[in-house]
Amino acid sequence: MAATPQAVPRSPAEVAEALRDASYLADDSTALIAFLAQRLGKPVLVEGPAGVGKTELAKALSRATGRELVRLQCYEGLDEAKALYEWNYRKQLLQIQATASTQDEGATPVGMGEIFTEDFLLERPLMKAIANPDPVVLLIDEIDKTDQEFEAMLLELLSDFQITIPEMGQISATTHPIVLLTSNNSRELTEALKRRCLYLWLDYPARDREIEIIRLHAPEIDEALAGRLVDVVDMVRELDLKKPPSIAEAIDWARTLILMGADDIDEKVFRESLSIIIKHRTDLDLVAEKIVPRLGGSGSSNGSSANGAG
């Protein structure tokens, strides 16, 4: 927040500090790669399980550097008309009709140059990031959801920070954006794309770091309870679940516990608040069976029955 947009960090520690100020606790390698991304001007490909803070990293970077965040959410079928730019057909049509009616019948028709200008261009996120006079943070979220053609289209942008519009020529970035691409690894990305990026694998944080993260976002929670919470969440993550609990859900859970006024996670509290971190019926059953008996407290016999979980 304090940094001006133009400032370039001098060391990874400085980046880590800035991210911390933006309430994101980065580990060493994350800070290092964020530092390299800014110094080398290379895009970063961030992969990892869902809910470890990939998108949050981009947001935090934008806060830390004081840059605007431009976000492109990818989905299947996304094409350049929605990601790059589109001609405003309606406006062009109106322009043609307007000039046709004011001019006499024998006059020259509207030239190409008159309707293919920036006035008729609808900027989409990527274009916006390039054309912005101030440097931005560009987040291309869930790149693995798009198809390979779209990836190929990104290559020009990622390596040279420019976009070619056939009717107008090249538009180059005046400033260097920080580009983050996230992927859930649902398909293998092309070599060409990977070659242009730095690679960051984000995983669930270590115990101490996660406690820190939770206490940062839910300051009212006391340390012992936060530790207990992280231990339980870790246990849950070790199971083979359809959707393991993310960091954001752990934070939600911490807030819930505060609201419930709980000071320890025993079987009762766990059962009541389970739905905050587990969001699949089969997962609920599994967790009720595996975790609940391990929570200690009263070793009641209904540990295996699933219906108490909902």
């Binding site: 060391s11 990874p12 060493d28 390698s29 290092l32 790669i33 530092f35 390299l36 110094r39 080398l40 290379k42 490909l45 992969e47 299947e76 057909y89 309606r90 049509l93 009709q97 198809d147 390979q148 053609e149 859930n184 690894n185 649902s186 398909r187 293998e188 070599e191 990977k194 070659r195 990026c197 730095l198 690679y199 960051l200 694998w201 083979d240 359809k242 089969t282 997962d283 059953d285 599994l286 069976e289 595996k290």
Partner: protein
Amino acid sequence: MSETPSGMAEQILAFCEELRSEDVAIGTSEIQDAFRALEIVPWTEPVDFRESLATTLAKSPKDREIFDLVFDRHFFRATEAASLEFAPEGGEGRKAALSDEVREELSMEALAEAIRQAIAEGDESAMNELARLAIEAFGRQGESSGVVGVDMQRIRRGLGLSPSSDTSGDGEADGENLDRDQIARFERQLRRELQRQQIQKQGQLPPARPLSDLNRALPMRGAQDLAAVHKAVAQMKRRLATLGHDPRGAKRGRTVDMRRTMRSSLETGGVPLNLKYRPRRPRKPEIYVLCDVSTSVSSASTFFLSVLHALHDSFRKLRSFVFIERISEVTHVFEDERDFTAIAEKITATGGVADISGYTDYGRVWNEFYADVSADLGPRSTVIVLGDARTNGRPPAEDAFARVADRANRTFWLNPEPELYWNYGDSVMSAYTPFCDGAFECWKTEHLEQFVDVVASGKVEHFGTTTRKYTSGHRY
């Protein structure tokens, strides 16, 4: 930072070369990136150095795994080679700070205490120094045996390091027990130091070995490897989750929706500027998986069962069967149970697949499967067989299999044996392959991924050893 020394550059190039030899795809541009990164990173910090190289060179979790293995091996050897060449003993930092007499006086208890603290703090470089000191101290006591493993044991005992030991009173002064991971990290340092000293003593490096194929092979032995199996399958799960969607990037052959196109053209004065397409209906495959669980594939069947397990998470329409002498449907087991070990137990207990001998009878299995299930097979069905095709000398009944394959849309065979062993002994793989859309060896993770790609994309030509589809009628 400072200029990279030329020896360093060569080291890094050699390292990249080594990575390439382990099938990590590294382009020249990536090496350039690595060097540019090292110019601006304080690379004298071991962690920064390693991470800078990793982020520029290794670009998938799998590559990263290989990167870590090769990194340890390469730079360990590199430093050893250097220290053989130059004068040994280049002690700096903490070690230099301790003068000789202080080190002489450093008692075992004090050392153990310092190590405990370093482990608790997770300070890698301190651990390294202390490991060296510990080895030295043991050397003075004349206990060094010259065998790395034996020395490890002795030093560990001497220091009293164990996850929850209460042997010495003062060791617990900190009030907290060290957890196993942290101690393992210290022991890794210790082992490395011991190896280093041995190399110095012998004056030569042990020969470099490439990472063996086994390091990457599917973990198949023992129940404790189950977690590893699941890890291998987890990646596949994600791939499978997107299965059934359109084959990516194929916009060709889409049909224009005339009505919607005309309607939207009204906005642009009757000029159809935007074509509207009919939405594609994703193909929803029905999958039938038949899994051999006999003793001849017992090591593989754990793995196959967990594949089945993963498949069940990803497909709604999946029916699974296990067979030895007879076939039995186990779909309901997977639907009722989520936990893998429980599933494995239930299947072995209630599957009722072994009759008398416990040897696989493929012929009988095909006939039973055809009689009971084939009525449900249709143009959308995919049949996947997981088995080694070892019939124990019984008739293979390939005609029954052919009829099954004929009814199903696609048939695949995954064989846990390397292709080299097919058709040796009692394996009758060749009797079945003509009727499969693809037959694959499947004993490495890559094989599995390759297979998933095939099923997902519908391309068979490139992968299958046999692609000829059985055409009905001429056999019976």
